[in-house]
């Protein structure tokens, strides 16, 4: 049974924990560096990225998680979790904590305020999510991916914007797969372990 850490400083971590439990994984809430021992992968959930950034500092988790990512362990970042992985954050705070510098840039709240939050069908053919069985994706004050480098594989787009990307063992979505009962992306993450 894979042991999956779920960053539990703030945000939608419980929904990720529920999804992973459903799939037979062993989720572990991560609030302190000691919680990272013996985990096989890590989920960075959605929430408020400024709050998470501050708590990553006070908890002492920023450095060990960065090292964890640098070691090549599997990561799944959603929404605020995606922002934490980007090389460049637009409209962010200058003191924003970053856990990795993957070759993409992302704009915080790039789709606008809550009134502009939305749901839409997305397809990711490489993952077997096609027109006949699209993924219902929920975007909440979502980050917008503006540029992706050569090393980044775009798995899904909405209109022209990448919304699901992968770079080696790291996957990131601008939307919230934990808010729907569709577990395909969590399954896909577990399959990469």
């Amino acid at each position: 049974m894979p042991r999956i850490g779920v960053l539990a400083l703030q945000g939608a971590f419980q929904r990720h924990i529920d999804a992973l439990s459903c799939l037979g994984a062993h989720p572990i809430p991560v609030r302190l560096p000691g919680d990272l021992a013996h985990v096989d992968g890590l989920v960075l959930p959605g929430g408020e990225s400024t709050t998470m950034s501050l708590l990553l500092g006070t908890s002492g988790l920023a450095q060990p998680i960065s090292a964890f990512i640098a070691d090549g362990l599997p990561i799944f970042g959603t929404c605020a979790g995606m922002i934490l992985l980007a090389a460049e954050v637009l409209d962010g705070r200058p003191d924003q904590m970053q856990l990795a510098t993957l070759d993409f840039s992302v704009r915080r709240n790039g789709y606008g305020r809550q009134l502009a939050s939305f749901e839409a069908d997305v397809t990711a053919p490489i993952l077997g999510i096609g027109d006949t069985n699209p993924f219902r994706a929920i975007f909440i004050r979502a980050p917008k991916v503006e540029n992706v480098g050569d090393g980044i594989e775009v798995l899904a787009r909405l209109d022209h914007d990448p919304v699901l990307i992968r770079s080696g063992p790291v996957m990131a979505s601008a939307f919230h797969p934990e808010l729907t009962p569709d577990l395909r992306l969590h399954r896909c993450f577990l399959a990469s372990l």
């Binding site: 408020e48 400024t50 409209d91 709240n109 502009a116 909440i140």
Partner: protein
Amino acid sequence: MVPHHRFSARRLTNMAQKVPPQGERQTETMRVKRGLAEMLKGGVIMDVVNAEQAKIAEDAGAVAVMALERVPADIRSDGGVARMSDPAMIEQIQATVTIPVMAKVRIGHFVEAQILEALEVDYIDESEVLTPADEAHHIDKFAYGVPFVCGATNLGEACRRVSEGAALIRSKGEAGTGNVVEAVRHLRSIIGDIRKIGQADRAELFEWAKRLQAPLPLIEEIADTGRFPVPIFCAGGLATPADAALAMQLGAESVFVGSGIFKSSDPSPRARAIVEATTNYMNPEILVKVSRNLGTPMTGIGMDDIDVHLADRGW
């Protein structure tokens, strides 16, 4: 006058949750409204009365700010009618912070809600802290694209608010007192009844619905899933990191802190400490660390010493 058909159309989209053609974006659905509440979990929403306080709150790690004219402690001591804030103040706060901005309207004052929606606030709080505008009706919250949070003292009130379209419930507590006793009473009542309904047999559900004056389908949903359909946060009287951790251990999923921060001697460190306590609510060692040397909390008042019980407002 806003034409009635606008409300009806919104209402249908919200209630029927129609699946649109592929690729089409659908805004303002219940899932999208509840989704933002999910993102605010495990966090602290702080009352602020100007842009400067909003900045302090954001820097301290607030997940959202609640813009209001006066904090509840001042509403209580000043008396008079408490209303929606000046739009200019809300706009200044929106221009200052990047976290979600919430604002309050009077119970039943659907025009104040229309104004806040036009300002594109991220959440509207139909709040007993302001002077009620309607003593029988709450706002039809399905009519708006902006999600609503409402207070509740018990599970019946919480269910009635959800049946009117609220996407988030907060236990009311007694705002502006710095006294956590009512928040504890309301949380225990709400969470306790959810637990009991989870154990009830089918015949008992009818009686629960009757006793709580709540719609039967919501009671059935709680019985089936064992949980309330929208997140439950805690508000009203929290003043210390320990208060926040107490609310979280009792089953709240986030906390609202009003007067407790900006009525204390040193708001910024206290705000940060409450944020850390909310994350680490099960860890007494961290609670010790963050509770140390915070200066004087707001003075607080006992329940026997107040004339107006704000929590009694709401029907």
